[in-house]
């Protein structure tokens, strides 16, 4: 226990910075002194333009990459390597093409040595939940973009994480599928309550899903503003309050998102 924390806070990001060097000399600041807190069971949206900084921040939070400065604490413990309590839905999915849907979904428990029967049951439950029943034995390349994303979500849930990180999961989907998937994730997260950190560059998506939105600046990523969203669920994208918030956030960003 190296960090005191307020009740209900799960994850603390404190003064995290990261710099890369382009062509070995030019410093390229991607994350600059970011501090934030994630509360238990909240749906937190990190909203920011472009592709700068957010993915790096997530890789640091998940323990895949060490920060240059600052630290990340989960329940008071400093994060130095990936932790099974944190699950991740990757932007580019990373489904293993040689595994069938169910083999992909059960990979988490499999790697932790859980027996076939238990992990199959769990995988089947989440495959059902994300609406992929009947596709257990298909290979990823036989699925559409939205279906693949569902596999990625089921895979993260099956490892039973307490905190789920989703890195622009719908960034590569077409508008219609994206809209459906937003509904789906909203439904799934109501059904299986978890702490979720959701990254997006889309204001509507952020407002549609988030309990809280943290707005980032462009490059390097810094926290610009934090919004508490008290709209009732399910949310309505043409509700006047929704539109007001949308306008407010949009006026506060440097670029049209």
């Amino acid at each position: 226990m190296s960090m005191e924390q307020k009740a209900g806070t799960r994850l603390i990001v404190k003064d995290v910075s990261k710099t890369f060097y382009q062509k070995k000399i030019e410093p390229h600041h991607v994350v600059d002194k970011v501090s934030l807190e994630v509360k238990d069971n909240e749906f937190l949206v990190l909203l920011g333009p472009g592709h700068c900084g957010k993915t790096v921040l997530l890789n640091i939070v998940s323990g895949l990459m060490p920060p240059d400065e600052g630290s990340v604490y989960l329940d008071g413990e400093k994060i130095t390597k990936p932790n099974p309590k944190i699950g991740m839905v990757f932007q580019k999915l990373g489904l293993m093409p040689w595994k069938t849907v169910i083999e992909n979904v059960e990979i988490g428990p499999k790697l932790s040595g859980i027996n076939v029967k238990t992990r199959r049951e769990r995988a089947e439950y989440f495959i059902d939940l994300v609406g992929l029943k009947g596709f257990e034995n298909s290979y990823p390349h036989q699925l559409s973009g939205g279906m693949k994303q569902r596999v990625g979500i089921a895979r993260a849930y099956t490892n039973d994480p307490e905190i789920l990180i989703m890195d622009e999961p719908f960034g590569q989907l077409d508008a219609q599928t994206r809209y459906n998937m937003q509904n789906e994730i909203s439904r799934i997260s109501e059904h299986e309550k978890r702490t979720i950190i959701f990254v997006t560059n889309n204001i509507e998506e952020a407002l549609y899903l988030g309990d809280r939105i943290i707005l980032f600046t462009e490059c390097p990523a810094r926290v610009k503003e934090i919004y508490d969203i008290d709209l009732k669920r399910p949310r309505d994208m043409i509700d006047p309050e929704f539109l007001r918030l949308r306008k407010m956030i949009s006026n506060n960003t440097d670029l049209a998102l």
Partner: protein, 268 residues
């Protein structure tokens, strides 16, 4: 920031460590080989020490024993044969593959003949070629031609088949004729694949050369190692093998340089 610089330094140190390790491993290999020969574990009738191979290398600058030619004559003979076969295969094979990929009737006419020839390894042509053409330059060049021709055709054919339909449509909207589209869109876009084929052809032609010279020659590097065996000269055999390997390596290296210049837009 400091942290990152340190990391980078660490990585460079790591690279250096592995480089030293490779050098040590190669030197150890040579040393063990040398010692095994010196202490008579391996007979000098079946293997020559690395230093002996080096000595033979310098001797072969002027000595013509046991195969009747200096090493440079042998290299020159081998190069002449392999380059003749290799270049004629490129000149005939690559355009043929492209034309077949672009013009359907030509494809349908030539493809069956090509499919009959394709599965026969070039080495299998050696006896027939010797009977038909003899064992001169032409015969060996022909065998090498067979080995290089097949990959040249296949790859340039596949390359031009993969031409983006969008590019073709764009050219069509400008009213270009079919041949003009072939020349300006098809040929350039098939270049990376064509070069990949030529690269395979290069390896094949050098490998086949050795086979051709082992079986039918009176000079050349393959002939030199064959004679080395007959006169029980392991030093000459190993020298020949190394020369063949090094020349093959140099060819590939030069070729990669050319390829990078010609298709430098490839990775973009």
């Amino acid at each position: 920031m400091n942290n990152n610089n340190l990391l980078k330094k660490g990585r460079r140190m790591g690279d250096l460590k592995y480089m030293i390790l490779s050098v040590i491993s190669v030197l150890t290999f040579l040393l063990i080989w040398q010692l095994l020969v010196i202490f008579g574990v391996l007979s000098t009738r079946t293997i020559a020490a690395p230093t002996q191979v080096l000595v033979t290398f310098f001797e072969k600058f002027y000595s013509t024993a046991p195969d009747g030619a200096t090493i440079f004559t042998n290299i020159a003979v081998s190069l002449k044969v392999s380059l003749t076969g290799f270049f004629s295969a490129i000149i005939i094979g690559t355009p043929l593959g492209m034309l077949m990929g672009w013009y359907k009737p030509l494809d349908r006419f030539i493809r069956p003949l090509f499919e009959i020839i394709r599965p026969i390894p070039p080495i299998a042509w050696i006896p027939l070629t010797i009977l038909w053409v003899g064992i001169g330059l032409g015969a060996k060049a022909m065998i090498i031609f067979f080995s290089a021709f097949v990959p040249c055709v296949i790859n340039s054919y596949t390359g031009i088949k993969l031409t983006s339909q969008v590019h073709v449509s764009v050219a069509k909207t400008f009213g270009a004729s079919n041949f003009k589209i072939f020349r300006t869109v098809g040929v350039p876009s098939s270049m990376p694949m064509a070069f990949a084929g030529i690269r395979i052809a290069l390896g094949n032609s050098w490998g086949t050369l050795v086979a051709a010279e082992l079986l039918a020659a009176n000079a050349g590097l393959g002939y030199m190692i064959m004679m080395g065996r007959q006169f029980v000269r392991p030093d000459v055999i190993i020298l020949g093998m190394l020369t063949i390997g090094i020349l093959g390596f140099i060819f590939t290296w030069i070729f990669t340089k050319i390829e990078n210049v010609v298709v430098r837009w490839r990775t973009l």
